[in-house]
């Protein structure tokens, strides 16, 4: 498509920064605008995920309105909303706005401050629902989940993983490689949250959260903002995007719990390009939970359906130094922090531009995939170096 990532920016990232999330957002946005060689007056589009929302705390660090106002932008187009094909859906829409001529330069951002905002409370602080008669009541789809003690994506994705284990013989030792690979890569990323080495024994002995997922299968809530600028021209071309979902939009009513909406978006990514999965030099695939990355690996055709476990086994295939598919080269959300989707896009662009510093993968990568979302949420971009 006729769209490019012309600039990238990122604020400080930390477990708990105790800084104003709007300030983090502006840091990331100004860096991205400058990186694109643009001025604030050039920005005529603004896009974000999920837009302004107070609950759960820290999930949204800034909405369209505040950023629009603080940066004093004049806009032809803007968008913010949570009902999107994953976090990167906001960037995909920006590509469409640019390609259609509605905007020339769209600033896209995602800010989280969950680390700081949830510092004082447990899970009860983050549960959406309705108060009725003074107490808490689960409504909407949560009406079917909370009564059974399944309030979290950790529980839902655990059940997906368990079914994958059953159908394909996938093991915890295999799944561990997603976490171990992320930790190895995070050691080379100065902004990563967890950089100390992790062994397979560490992984196997840490506490279980929701079997078969242990603590190290879950990403780390953190603070930080990431921004990109989408323009018609730029150093990184948007070759293809995909947003398909061809099943019931539900965690438990989905037709095949060994896969997710990524199945449809992943297949669709190759429908509008002559490139294939074999052409991809580096993959940045969402790991809000480790198993989601395995789903994306299969969905994008880097291995066959059900072969995700075998593909990552031992870690060699996905290693940054010499693997056939360097994966989550910044450490992913498991070790680098839950920047919620945008971190993968930022890293993919950095790798293609050769500016990833110590963690730059060898071989001068030319093609990358950035994918985000789990369950019924999925959106992905195929990127090439100009």
């Amino acid at each position: 498509m006729r769209a490019a990532i012309s600039g990238i920016g990122q604020s400080d990232v930390g477990r708990r920064l105790f800084r104003d999330p709007l300030e983090l957002t502006i840091d990331a946005c100004l860096e991205a605008i400058a990186d694109a060689g643009l001025d604030r007056s050039d920005i005529d589009g603004l896009s974000t995920y999920p837009g302004n929302m107070a609950i759960p705390p820290g999930f949204s660090g800034a909405g369209i309105t505040e950023v629009h106002d603080v940066l004093r932008l004049n806009l032809n187009w803007f968008n913010g909303g949570i009902e999107a094909p994953g976090q990167l859906g906001s960037v995909i829409l920006a590509c469409m706005a640019v390609e259609s001529g509605l905007a020339n330069h769209v600033l896209c951002f995602r800010t989280v401050w969950e680390g700081t905002a949830q510092a004082g409370g447990g899970r009860s602080a983050v549960m959406p629902g309705s108060g009725r008669g003074g107490g808490y009541r689960a409504d909407g789809f949560m009406q079917w989940f909370l009564p059974y003690g399944a309030p979290s994506a950790a529980n839902w994705i655990a059940m997906y993983a368990q079914r994958h284990f059953h159908e394909y013989g996938t093991t915890r030792e295999q799944l561990a490689q997603i976490a171990l690979n992320g930790r190895r890569n995070a050691a080379l990323n100065p902004k990563a949250i967890y950089r100390e080495p992790m062994t397979l024994d560490d992984y196997l002995n840490v506490r279980m959260i929701s079997s078969p997922l242990c603590l190290y299968d879950c990403d780390v809530p953190s603070d930080g903002s990431t921004a990109v600028v989408v323009s018609r021209e730029g150093p990184v071309n948007v070759e293809s995007v995909a947003t398909a979902i061809r099943g019931r939009p539900s965690w438990d009513q989905w037709d095949d719990l060994t896969t997710m909406a990524a199945r449809d978006a992943g297949a669709d990514l190759w429908a509008r390009t002559s490139l294939t999965a074999a052409d991809v030099d580096v993959a940045e695939l969402y790991d809000g939970f480790s198993f989601i990355t395995m789903v994306w690996l299969e969905a994008l055709g880097f291995c066959g359906k059900g072969e995700g476990g075998a593909f990552v086994e031992g870690g060699a295939n996905i290693a940054s130094d010499g693997g056939v598919l360097p994966l989550n080269t910044h450490g992913g959300q498991l070790s680098a922090g839950r920047l919620h989707g945008y971190g993968f896009l930022h890293e993919a662009v950095a790798q293609l531009r050769g500016i990833a510093g110590e963690r730059q993968v060898p071989g001068d990568p030319e093609v990358a995939v950035a994918a985000a979302g789990g369950g019924p949420l999925a959106g992905c971009l195929l990127l090439t170096r100009r």
Binding site: G135, P147, Y148, G149, M159
Partner: protein, 133 residues
């Protein structure tokens, strides 16, 4: 202490929760195309017909997948961990999220036969759960 496990029955789901209180598991079936479905909704997710009716399920099911939950700090769960969250396939076809009780986690096996049981939480709310058949 605020509980974080009780559902808010609404206009559409009230009959489901009322039946559960009486020890019956309801699903919905489309009278137009015959599709059984869950969650209860006023239209068929397969053919869009609004000619749908309640039907009492047999209560027989098989285990599709599960997770042994070991961490949940939302009351009342801290005193109940570990417990088994599960997705089961009802004999009629629909899939539902539930708990499996009366079974050691290590004895769980995909495809195992289950039978519905009812766990009373309050005077108002009783939950369909499943136990080994």
């Amino acid at each position: 202490m605020t509980r974080y496990d009780l559902p808010a029955p609404d206009l559409e789901t009230e009959p489901y929760w009322t039946a559960a209180r009486e020890g019956r598991l309801l699903i919905k079936r489309c009278r137009s195309c015959g599709q059984p479905f869950f969650y209860p909704r006023p239209f068929c997710p397969k053919c869009w017909s609004d000619d749908v009716e309640w039907e009492e399920a047999s209560g027989r099911a098989t285990l599709y997948t599960w997770s042994v939950v070991r961490q949940n700090d939302l009351p009342p769960w801290p005193t109940r961990v570990p417990y088994v969250a599960a997705v089961v396939d009802l004999e009629e076809g629909p899939r539902m999220l539930t708990n499996v009780e009366g079974c050691e986690p290590e004895d769980l096996e995909a495809g195992m036969a289950l039978k519905v049981a009812f766990r009373q939480e309050t005077d108002e709310i009783t939950l369909p759960v499943f136990r080994p058949a």
